[in-house]
Symmetry: C2
Subunit: 408 residues, 2 copies
């Protein structure tokens, strides 16, 4: 039988009424004759409340125990969701990560899925049951409970869809689809009917918090169709797939932006070809996400490298750099806070030279200083002062005529 | 290395401060060179809050899903407890029921432990870790999460102690030991230094809510020493063991009482020797605990049987009787609410005739009507009007000179 995976985040499950509403959506799919898997995150602010309880006990929690704490959140919501389905007259069963056969590596707080044993889920399908799975969690090789960290529930949903050979994943979010820019800040933003994995990946990586890039990457790798739709209203949503038909003259497909960026700069005591790799290796080992990297080697000055990170990883990044500065031969130089990143994205960009130049020119005319630049085949990102972020986003949305992106 | 199992209930874990205080008690035992297992219930009112969440979704929850909900409570508190131990500088690890190797039957809400695989716990001991276990839960043969129901955390603690061949179990409660009667209602009550399993079993069955009879039964079966002590103050507590030295002339060791008893009476349409067994078989199959049973066969009248149950099982008992009255050939006759049970307990009772007579005589002099009577080798219970319960308890405490029970 054809299968569908549906994912609901914490904001869509904050109350009994919301759980019942989400359950109705699952039932609608079941009534179409599909086998339904529901993946749920922890209800509302549960995770935050649990972190506060932990914080009352320690400032330095072991990651294993934090995972043991946090995993109870989605476990609870999965059981409540199953209860709501049963109350509506449908057969349902809740499964924790380990019961669902989700096996991960042992990296607490940000575990990666190794494999999924679908045998138990298949048994429940055979009994006509809707299967509700606690998202964001699994077990490692020695049966410790792990959580998947950011984007965990979405990644779980995509991974399950792949393992179960489902038709698609429906990601229920607080938006009704993917827009050319965040409509809360860019009034002319338009909803897209379809978007390619690559474009969505750039959008996700560039601060659009609709869906986590991990989930998009995984969907792309296995060509799993994903629909971004609203948990609040009925909507067709936006379909993520490999190839998207687009207007030839629309080179740029969207504008993304993200605040709370910090630029860190380190100076080399002695530069070698290995230095650059060493710094980013140690940051990667500590799972600090470095975004834009700019290296400057100017005669007469110490060589420096600047890179941008998220504000929330600032303290940890400083600690890591401090711990390894002697062994790696660099010294901490400078940091700048209060920055934001604004990006333009579009698969057609690679074959259209001059897009970046047009972007910089418009920002110059808007009197917005550009602090860092990063480009890929399908996007250009700039780091600008946070205060200029909204203005920059609207200006670029206008510059590339995105208000004409009539894909709906 | 010698091992100890310590059990903390929800009331002893209601706040961060209480968790830290309980953790200090565990550390004190670890510092004595013992391997320490801590068994915890869900924090404070967690279980009640979760049941309310479930109640908002349904009035008829599936037991499997209710267990999935409730198991998250002790899972959370076990992780928080481990975090408190780590913060104090001790190695600790939290384990869920299934991680701790606790295998149960598949009877949700009141599962029984089949066996415990101690291999994982032994690994943690070998690493010097204090092991904190989510009480009240396990997994069944097909890996569903089960909870053990009433007395679950205490039963888990005793079962773990037996499996691990621990020295003893320390049950931390809100009282500092076992008294000749509940000192809140019987001012002359005295604390006992020791009490036999059998006496404790009678006390537990007779409404003393210090420790659940399931746990006492299990401890008795494997001769596991148990200390009842206070989570609030330092105290030596009361030791449960097989043989207790007692004053020869103290035939009665304690007075127990319990309110909210209901007497149900059914009448037989046609009586046969099988009838009695049939009724109580069907009640037992539905896990309704029947306490005192009185059967009356009077010439010219329909035979009747009366039995007492707890108020909370009243609705379910009525349902069961209603469902089976046709097949079993009886009709519901009567019930009486607002009753209480008062009991006297003592191992020396069997060899001292006249104890029951002395009890009835005193109650008659106090003008307290006796509705039902039940006796065993070491106790006599009477059912009286609930309004007379405290008076009866104090009178019997006085009658058998328990204020002289100086065992402290």
């Amino acid at each position: 039988m054809a299968k569908i995976v549906m994912k609901f985040g914490g904001a869509a499950l904050a109350s009994s009424e919301q759980i019942q509403e989400a359950a109705r959506k699952a039932i609608a799919e079941k009534d179409k004759g599909l086998d339904v898997v529901v993946v749920v995150a922890a209800m509302g602010h549960t995770a935050k409340e649990m972190k506060m309880m932990v914080h009352q006990l320690t400032d330095d929690v072991s990651k294993r125990e934090l995972d043991a704490v946090l995993s109870t959140g989605s476990q609870l919501s999965s059981a409540l969701f199953a209860i709501a389905l049963q109350e509506a007259g449908y057969e349902a069963v809740s499964l924790t990560g380990w019961q669902a056969g989700i096996h991960t590596d042992g990296m607490y707080r940000q575990a990666r899925i190794d494999y999924i044993d679908i045998s138990r889920m298949e048994e429940h399908f055979a009994q006509g049951q809707i299967v509700v799975i606690a998202g964001e969690q699994g077990i490692d090789e020695v049966h410790n409970i792990t959580t998947l960290g950011k984007g965990g529930a979405e990644t779980t949903a995509v991974a399950l869809a792949i393992a179960l050979e489902a038709e698609r994943v429906d990601m229920y979010t607080n938006v009704d689809g993917v827009y050319t820019a965040d409509p809360r800040y860019v009034p002319n933003a338009q909803k897209l009917q379809e978007i390619s994995y690559d474009e969505m990946l750039e959008l996700s990586n560039l601060g659009s918090h609709i869906i986590h890039p991990r989930a998009v990457e995984l969907a792309k790798k296995f060509q799993m169709p994903v629909i971004i739709r609203s948990s609040l209203i009925e909507s067709v949503g936006t379909l993520l797939k490999e190839e998207v038909e687009m207007e030839k003259n629309l080179v740029v497909r969207g504008v993304a932006f993200e605040s709370d960026i910090i630029r860190l700069t380190v100076g080399y005591d002695a530069f070698s070809n290995a230095s650059l790799a060493d710094i980013f290796t140690v940051l990667a080992e500590n799972r600090i996400n470095v975004d834009i990297i700019v290296q400057a080697i100017i005669d007469g000055l110490k060589p420096t490298v600047s890179f941008s990170i998220l504000k929330e990883e600032f303290a940890e990044a400083l600690r890591v750099l401090e711990d390894s500065k002697l062994s790696l031969g660099f010294s901490f130089a400078d940091f700048e806070i209060g920055l934001a990143k604004v990006s333009i994205i579009g698969s057609g960009m690679a074959s259209n030279p001059g897009v970046a130049a047009r972007m910089f020119d418009r920002l110059r005319r808007e009197n917005i200083p550009v602090k860092m630049v990063s480009t890929s085949e399908i996007k250009v990102s700039v780091v600008v002062p946070q205060d200029d972020m909204i203005q920059a986003a609207n200006a670029l949305h206008d510059e590339f005529n995105l208000e004409q992106a009539l894909y709906i």
